[in-house]
């Protein structure tokens, strides 16, 4: 089936079996390997992407459901030269260690900041509750999101 979607702001076409997971098509045909597979069962959130602006697990969505829709992966957040505040603060605040959870964390955190410019710690934790991290103990991740909210509000947003 020919699927047309907007991917990280660009129109893309991919001809593939419609029941393949969005996660696999992103990583294989579309060569965007930032989106990771942890559990394949909706539990870990490392495959988190935005679908029409909403945070979803790419392991639970089939590509046939994405025709005509807007998908944003971690590659679509910011470029190396122009990182978003959330990407910068994950670096400066130590929000990433091994990095496996990071793409999903960044997507969930950026989606939170777009709907709520100054979240409380509790709101940050709720927004990231579907993203598991085995390294950081979460404190540095919450601090990174807090710092990104500050940077955005003080005009640090790119």
């Amino acid at each position: 089936m020919l699927i047309r979607l907007k991917l990280n702001g660009q129109l893309r076409e991919v001809d593939t079996a419609p029941m393949r997971r969005l996660l696999d098509v992103l990583r294989e045909e579309l060569e965007l390997t930032g989106t990771k597979e942890g559990c394949g069962e909706g539990e870990c959130g490392t495959c988190t992407v935005l679908l029409d602006g909403e945070v979803v697990n790419a392991c639970m969505v089939v590509i046939g459901q994405c025709d005509g829709r807007d998908v944003v992966t971690v590659e679509g957040l910011g470029s190396e030269a122009h990182l978003l505040p959330i990407q910068k603060t994950f670096v400066t605040e130590g929000g990433a260690q091994c990095g496996i959870c990071t793409p999903g964390m960044l997507i969930s955190a950026e989606a939170l900041l777009r709907r709520n410019a100054s979240p409380t710690d509790e709101q940050i934790r709720e927004a990231l509750a579907g993203n598991l991290c085995r390294c950081t103990g979460y404190e540095r991740i919450v601090a990174s999101v807090r710092a990104a909210a500050l940077a955005r509000s003080s005009g640090g947003a790119s």
Partner: protein
């Protein structure tokens, strides 16, 4: 089955509700297995766990995730109708749901995590029919009516008549969940939601209770209860409800209330909890609900 096998599963997209009903009827007649794929948060997980399909026995997947008719939230008079394709995230953000059926908004916050809420639907929750389903417990508390449709027309099933046993129901194989209708209990109605699990997010409950009641002069005049994970089906706690409806709140005592819960459920041990603990928690949350209504228990 591995997820790679999914590629061979046939996929089609539902156009509108009438053509979906016709298509489903045709598949049911020819005894072909099919799945209505909404959020995929139940079905996709089941595929990871199941044995491979025999060649040619793959179900036909029909994508219903963009069927507008299933995604409506409508208030007509004192009936709130929530489409079966409405997601938890949409319930959380709907002004109508928040104003008129706040228990649903509260329940939706406790489902999985935001990624699951953004995809999972009420229709999928009802169709899977797990006794642990949070959405089903919450709509049960509102004494909801389930609107189903097939090529034979529309049928309304009261929540109390839906579930007949573990994952078994009175819905026919070709009937599609279209909406959940709630006769609103009024703005002064009390509602209650408590989900007890191992952690706040991504946890299936050990016990969850949804409750809705209207109290007039110390007497409960409308009461609905839905309890998850304590029986093969969502428990409606009929004896407990009868006690609330038949006795002034000041006359309801803790022993009497516990006894009613005891007679309504006999939970079992499983991987998530023990029957004994579940019964203890079930009594505690029912007491908590009763206290919120003004009973001294």
């Amino acid at each position: 089955m591995t997820i790679a096998d999914l590629a061979s599963v046939p996929f089609e997209r539902a156009g509108d509700l009438a053509s979906l009903c016709a298509r489903v009827g045709e598949l049911a007649d020819s005894e072909q297995p099919f799945v209505l794929l909404a959020g995929g948060t139940d079905w996709m997980v089941e595929q990871e766990l199941r044995k491979p399909f025999a060649a040619g026995a793959e179900p036909r997947v029909i994508d219903v995730s963009r069927l507008d008719k299933l995604r409506e939230i409508r208030l007509e008079g004192n009936v709130l109708s929530i489409g079966a394709g409405v997601t938890y995230w949409e319930m959380r953000n709907s002004p109508e749901v928040r104003a008129h059926a706040p228990l649903l908004e509260r329940m939706a916050r406790d489902v999985g995590a935001i990624q699951i809420q953004a995809r999972g639907t009420l229709g999928g929750n009802l169709a899977t029919g797990s006794p642990a389903a949070d959405g089903v417990a919450a709509v049960a508390a509102y004494d909801a009516i389930l609107v189903v449709q097939s090529r034979r027309g529309v049928r309304r099933i009261p929540m109390s008549e839906l579930q007949t046993g573990y994952k078994a129901s009175t819905r026919e194989g070709d009937e599609i969940f279209v909406a959940v209708e709630i006769l609103l209990p009024g703005p002064d109605a009390r509602w209650y939601w408590r989900k007890v699990g191992t952690r706040r997010a991504q946890a299936i409950s050990k016990v969850a209770l949804g409750g809705v009641a209207r109290v007039e002069a110390g007497q409960v005049v409308r009461c609905g209860l839905g309890m998850a994970s304590v029986a093969p089906v969502t428990a409606l706690l009929p004896r407990t409800r009868e006690l609330f409806l038949s006795t002034k709140l000041e006359k309801i005592g803790p022993v009497q209330l516990d006894k009613a819960v005891d007679s309504d459920i006999s939970p079992i041990d499983d991987v998530r909890s023990t029957g004994e603990y579940r019964l203890h928690v079930a009594k505690s949350v029912v007491r908590d609900f009763a206290r919120a209504l003004g009973a001294r228990v």
